[in-house]
């Protein structure tokens, strides 16, 4: 993982100097560096440059417009809608994924003796499925005509939303939150479970002798023990919430009526549907800077551990 690499370098407090050992190390890292360069660094640089120009997908010339693309974003209500949707997803995901993961982890750590591995595996399984596949499976489940969810709701004597689970602007974003939680909660659960199980039993025993039981033990022993894991889980979720694209793109495409429009899908739409490459680049840069800041925060906080 890139952040841990940076943190290792940061710990020594020195920049690597070229010598025999470093040259062979550089040779080993070259393939990865080249790939990162070609597919991440250069496109990112092009995006930053492009955000100051006005051009289309097939434009022969780029017109320099200065900060116009950024000014446009500030006044574009859809940009702000997308950002507020992102923030909704971020907050909702932290609650559902980190919170849900913590509850599941606590249940598996304390409550369930038998079959805990089975439950763990089942809950973790969606993590290894591609988001696109997850999106398609959930589209089937939520389908207003053939979906099992409608059937279940009807069997219970309730009426499913008339416009469909994903078609109703009032609930479609909540549905996306649900799908994202279903897919990712297993990952957060594993992180937190590992954190919980890394706390030695003796710490709780010592605490019970010191008079800290129940909530006090949770406050003084458990919470500090998994603090770093919780910070990491939250940051991963926050970054994921800002970057979300594939799930939204496949299920709703940002609709209905922009109800699920997020920065990722709106950037895509501006770029490839409306041909506003410069504006799309500017929004991509906003997303990039947000993600980079959060990534930096993650490295900072995990290094303090």
């Amino acid at each position: 993982m890139a952040p841990s690499l940076t943190s290792t370098l940061g710990d020594t407090g020195k920049r690597p100097v070229l010598n025999a050992g470093n040259i062979s190390a550089s040779a080993m890292m070259a393939p990865a560096l080249i790939l990162v360069g070609v597919f991440i660094l250069i496109p990112a640089a092009v995006a930053v440059i492009g955000s100051f120009f006005d051009f289309g997908m097939t434009s022969a010339t780029w017109t320099f417009v200065g900060g116009a693309n950024y000014r446009r974003a500030v006044t574009d209500p859809l940009f702000w809608l997308a950002i507020s949707n992102n923030i909704f997803i971020v907050i909702g995901s932290v609650v559902s994924q980190v919170g849900g993961g913590a509850i599941l982890a606590a249940i598996l750590d304390r409550g369930i003796r038998r079959g805990s591995v089975v439950y763990r595996t089942i809950i973790f399984m969606p993590v290894v499925i591609s988001s696109i596949a997850v999106a398609f499976v959930w589209m089937l489940i939520l389908d207003p005509n053939v979906g099992p969810l409608n059937a279940i709701v009807k069997t219970l004597g309730l009426s499913p939303p008339r416009l469909g689970w994903l078609g109703d602007p009032a609930i479609s974003l909540w549905m996306l939150l649900l799908i994202a939680a279903w897919q990712n909660v297993g990952f957060q659960m594993m992180l937190i479970l590992a954190g919980l199980q890394a706390i030695p039993k003796e710490h709780y025993e010592a605490a019970s002798l010191d008079g800290a039981r129940g909530l006090k033990a949770f406050w003084y022993i458990t919470l500090p023990g998994i603090r770093n894991v919780l910070v990491l889980a939250t940051l991963i979720t926050v970054i994921g919430g800002f970057k979300v694209f594939d799930l939204v793109f496949v299920t709703t495409g940002g609709g209905p009526a922009n109800a699920t429009q997020v920065l990722g899908t709106y950037t895509y739409t501006q770029a490839f549907s409306f041909g506003n490459m410069g504006y799309a680049n500017a929004m991509a840069v906003v997303l990039l800077v947000t993600a980079a800041l959060l990534g930096w925060l993650q490295v900072r906080l995990s290094r303090r551990a």
Partner: protein, 381 residues
């Protein structure tokens, strides 16, 4: 009434009984060491006293108060764990003051208690550090400090030194003894290391298979073991055990045979000692330091098979062919012999094993001691 009283404590894990009715008492200010092999129940007993394990039957009282059902923190005990169990996110000072903080004591009182404990343990300069910055010995001091700040009625130690290296261990042994004198506190200490037990204890409790085999001062256990188990457990290297049977009893003198081709051995039983009957199978015991080149009894001729120079003395194992020791833990039935280093035993050398009559201990087939050795035998032959 004793300061700590444990009465008929029974502990079961499902079908398995790990403590089968254990009773003992410790006086105020006494240093009691519980010792025994792995799985003997000593740690379980300590944890039961701490309240970390629930007991099925029996009672525990401290300072006259029955605490069998009390929460661990309300028992007046503090415990030092084998792996320190320091809270990693708290500084040394916070670790030591944690119990007082949870009890909502005023800051000034917490600081005073922590400062005093740190001075006693000489860790004042580490108070602001986190546990991960400390060495094993320092961590163990902090763990002890955490117990001291609580000023408990009884200190409980669960193998506190077994994670330390040998040099540090013997240093900490001395410091713990000093600490015990300074605090005048009642301490209950669990270890599997008989050296720790012998050096620190006022009294030792030897446990085996969920039962107490014997309680006594270190020298009592060494000189007058109540059972074959205690005789084998206390003393290093282990006592040699030989199978024999009784061929004759005349008055209080009993003759034992080791086999047809070996001379019989006649021992005088003291008044009050239980005489075995003719034909009884018994075990004779003799300490490695009581076997030598001369003495009243010639046990057997042997060939030296292993020589371990320990410095001041040498541990010699020899194979007596016709006479083998009977102990699952002894080396191929060889006799262990502890001799001064200058005696210069060589591998393959032929030796004669001699001993004085007063050096033999006799155990019945069930392991109880029938006849004690005279303490006077405990010198090199």
């Amino acid at each position: 009434m004793s300061h700590l009283e444990v009465r008929d404590v029974v502990k079961r894990y499902g079908q398995l009984t790990v403590l089968s009715g254990v009773s003992f008492a410790a006086e105020k200010g006494e240093f009691v060491v519980m010792v025994g092999p792995s799985g003997c129940g000593k740690s379980t007993l300590l944890r039961s006293i701490a309240g970390l394990e629930e007991i099925a039957e029996g009672s525990v009282s401290i300072a006259g108060r029955n605490i069998t059902q009390a929460e661990p923190s309300d028992r007046g005990v503090a415990m030092v764990f084998q792996n320190y169990a320091l809270y990693p996110h708290m500084t040394v000072a916070q670790n030591m003051g944690f119990a007082l903080k949870v009890a909502r004591r005023p800051k000034s009182e917490i600081n005073a208690a922590v400062t005093r404990a740190a001075e006693i343990l000489r860790i004042t300069e580490h108070l602001a550090k986190y546990p991960k910055a400390l060495s094993g010995g320092q961590k163990q001091r902090v763990a002890i400090g955490r117990a001291i700040t609580r000023a408990p009625e009884v200190f409980l130690f669960d193998e506190p030194l077994s994670n330390l290296d040998a040099a540090l261990r013997s240093q900490m042994r001395i410091e713990l003894s000093r600490l015990h004198r300074e605090l005048g506190a009642t301490m209950l200490y669990v270890t599997h290391d008989q050296t720790e037990a012998m050096t620190m204890a006022d009294r030792i409790i030897v446990m085996n298979g969920g039962n107490i085999e014997q309680i006594g001062s270190p020298l009592e256990l060494y000189n007058r073991p109540a059972t074959r188990f205690v005789a084998g457990f206390i003393g290093s290297p282990r006592m040699n055990f030989i199978s024999a049977y009784v061929i004759e009893t005349v008055g209080r003198s009993v003759s034992f045979s080791f086999g047809l081709e070996l001379p019989p051995l006649k021992l005088e039983f003291a008044p009050g000692e239980t005489l075995p009957a003719v034909g009884d199978a018994v075990i004779l015991g003799i300490r490695p330091e009581a076997l030598g080149d001369s003495g009243e009894v010639h046990l057997a001729d042997a060939e030296v098979t292993v020589v371990e120079a320990l410095g001041r003395e040498t541990l010699v194992y020899s194979d007596a062919h016709a006479l083998r020791t009977t102990d699952s833990e002894s080396l191929d039935g060889y006799f262990a012999q502890l001799v001064p280093s200058q005696s210069d035993k060589k591998l393959g050398q032929h030796v004669s094993l001699w001993a004085d009559r007063s050096a033999f201990v006799v155990f019945a087939a069930d392991g109880t001691t029938l006849h004690d050795a005279s303490p006077a035998h405990a010198h090199y032959k």
